[in-house]
């Protein structure tokens, strides 16, 4: 098997980011096609194609769209371009290389759900991508792909970019909605789900950048052709952001169900000379870590990783070789979630603090073997009890790193230094 470039076919072409370059590659043809269809026909296509959300949870997109109530209320479409899950960098590439692809996917999706207004909520640090998008949106208006009565279809749609200002939690869909409403970016209790009561309490569809762009190719290729890539339950191709200890880190588009081993060894050029695989985080830091043995058996689809008690998540794959210390890496991760908890829920606010504190005390050589169990107990109590999934996301790395690499934690506690690197991390974090 090899890369299959559907979304990324023209990404090497610098001109593709301009409207003319995009049009030269049949850009906006699927918008023309969509506008001649019935909106519900498009929703059915997306459902039948089995497209699953690319932002993390893998929820079926067509199904989400059909949850919108038919009560005549104004509807909103929000593109989630917050991309905060550590080690994920695919949406950034998509927006920088192919802004019109996202715009076309959004207009088609907006037409399907009959929304007159959409936003791309982009993380604040992506200044450059936001600039590229703003230019492209202007071009799209100039060509009549956005605005009133698009291409004479009678359908009107406005699209705007909104920049966040540095908060991982704004990637959570209801946190994003709060932020867009001009509030602190704190998640809201679900239900009601955004499809029923979202932005300004109106029915709202939230989808990831890659999800919305994928809609174009379902229309272009049809359900059968689209399903030729991927598995029964995970159809299509997906972008994977590979980072860490491989020769060629980067974004790779492969069919879902692709063997992780091939991705590491073929696409990414394997590990560095003389190194051995130790672990892989397969779906962003929230995804439970896999041992090397598990990783070599894994295929990159929603069901295989769920069976391995991990998840596909955002498609961020971090490769960890045998020179790395798991006690150190877990500290980086617990620090992150502690920093990013919005503080609304006690188990998350207190729990992320405790996780970080206990890992720090291990780093500092002040912990006992009992603290390993305390760490797991705290993590266990953080699951399933909060407004949003950040709390679980913080607990899961602990509950996989510790049992799978327990001897490294025990060694560190006993000897006061890393088994792998022979040093202490007491000073490395603040």
């Amino acid at each position: 098997m090899a890369e299959v470039k559907i979304l990324t076919e023209h990404y090497h072409d610098d001109n593709y980011r301009t409207v003319d370059g995009y049009l030269a590659k049949n850009g906006y043809e699927m918008l023309k096609k969509a506008l001649k269809m019935q909106p519900t026909e498009i929703i059915t296509l997306v459902k039948d194609a089995g497209l699953r959300g690319r932002g993390g949870a893998g929820f079926p997109t067509g199904m989400k769209w059909s949850f919108l109530p038919n009560n005549g209320e104004e509807r909103y479409l929000l593109c989630n371009a917050d991309e905060g899950e550590p080690c994920t960098f695919k949406d950034r590439m998509m927006m920088e290389r192919a802004p019109h692809q996202l715009i076309e996917g959004m207009i088609i999706s907006a037409f399907a759900v009959q929304s007159k207004k959409s936003y791309i909520y982009i993380r604040g640090e992506y200044f450059y991508a936001a600039d590229v998008l703003r230019k492209a949106i202007k071009e799209a208006y100039d060509k009549g792909f956005l605005g009133k009565n698009i291409l004479g279809s009678g359908f009107s749609h406005d699209l705007d970019v909104y920049c966040g200002a540095g908060a991982y939690i704004c990637g959570e869909e209801t946190g994003m909605i709060s932020s867009l409403e001009g509030l602190k970016g704190q998640p809201k209790l679900k239900p009601p789900f955004p499809a029923v009561k979202g932005y300004l309490a109106k029915p709202t569809v939230v989808n990831n950048v890659e999800t919305l762009a994928s809609v174009i190719y379902i229309l272009r290729d049809g359900v059968q052709e689209y399903r030729k890539n991927g598995t029964e339950k995970s159809p299509g191709t997906k972008l994977f952001s590979v980072s860490g200890d491989v020769m060629k880190p980067g974004n790779y588009e492969v069919p879902l169900g692709y063997p992780l081993k091939d991705l590491i060894e073929k696409e990414c050029g394997g590990l560095k000379p003389g190194r051995k695989l130790k672990a892989v985080i397969p779906g962003g830091t929230s995804a439970p870590v896999l041992t090397a043995e598990e990783a070599y058996k894994a295929t990159m689809d929603y069901e295989c990783l769920a069976n391995m008690k991990s998840m596909l998540g955002s498609g961020a794959i971090t490769i960890i070789d045998d020179t790395r210390c798991m006690v150190d890496l877990l500290g980086v991760i617990t620090h992150f979630y502690h920093h990013e908890s919005c503080g609304q829920c006690t188990p998350c606010r207190e729990g992320t603090g405790w996780l970080n504190k206990i890992v720090r005390s291990i780093h500092a050589g002040n912990a006992t073997v009992n603290d390993i169990d305390t760490l797991c107990k705290v993590a266990d109590n953080m699951k399933g009890r909060t407004i949003c999934a950040l709390s679980d996301a913080a607990a899961l790395p602990v509950l996989s790193f510790v049992p799978k690499f327990r001897s490294e934690f025990e060694y560190y506690i006993r000897e006061g230094k890393s088994q792998v690197r022979g040093i202490s991390y007491a000073q490395m974090h603040h």
Binding site: A167, L200, F336, H429
Partner: protein
């Protein structure tokens, strides 16, 4: 007393009308104020925005406090933000920021005496395939080595 340029005021006025609710203009306006105030937002700036936008200062402050990209203290002309999340740590970013701080004689978060630099650690910035990386004001610098990072900083104008 802080005041935006007339372009800045016009920007805030247009943002107030741009979104469905005027509160959505708070973030874009804070960005503008931060830029015109030399890289940070003082209590003075919040008071000023409150009057300009006709939104209670407490309401603006709440948004201001929530987001990490709004600086609560003065920063140098160049705000050097070094990613210290997983992929960058694996590529030596912690050692890099420690060395940079040492070379410039500051702690993290402090401003150098010539007012040129502030160094801070930040979380993943989505450039992990080119770790380690740093963001200087609005610009990404990727695939750094200790030497290339120093050279970039030396040559900033």
């Amino acid at each position: 007393m802080f005041k935006l340029s007339s372009d800045g005021e016009a920007f805030v006025q247009s943002e107030l009308k741009r979104y469905e609710t005027k509160e959505s203009a708070i973030i874009p306006s804070l960005y503008r104020v931060q830029k015109e105030n030399g890289g940070w937002v003082s209590p003075d700036c919040i008071q000023y925005l409150s009057t300009l936008m006709d939104i209670p200062a407490s309401r603006i402050n709440e948004v201001f406090q929530f987001y990490t990209m709004f600086n609560k203290e003065p920063v140098g002309k160049f705000h050097v933000q070094v990613c210290c999340n997983v992929a960058c740590c694996m590529a030596g970013s912690r050692e890099m920021i420690d060395k940079l701080c040492e070379d410039y004689g500051v702690e993290e978060g402090e401003v150098t005496s010539d007012k040129r630099f502030t160094f801070t650690r930040v979380e993943c910035l989505g450039a992990c395939d080119k770790a380690p990386m740093m963001q200087v004001n609005e610009t990404y610098h990727e695939g750094l080595t200790m030497d290339s990072a120093k050279k970039i900083l030396r040559e900033l104008k």
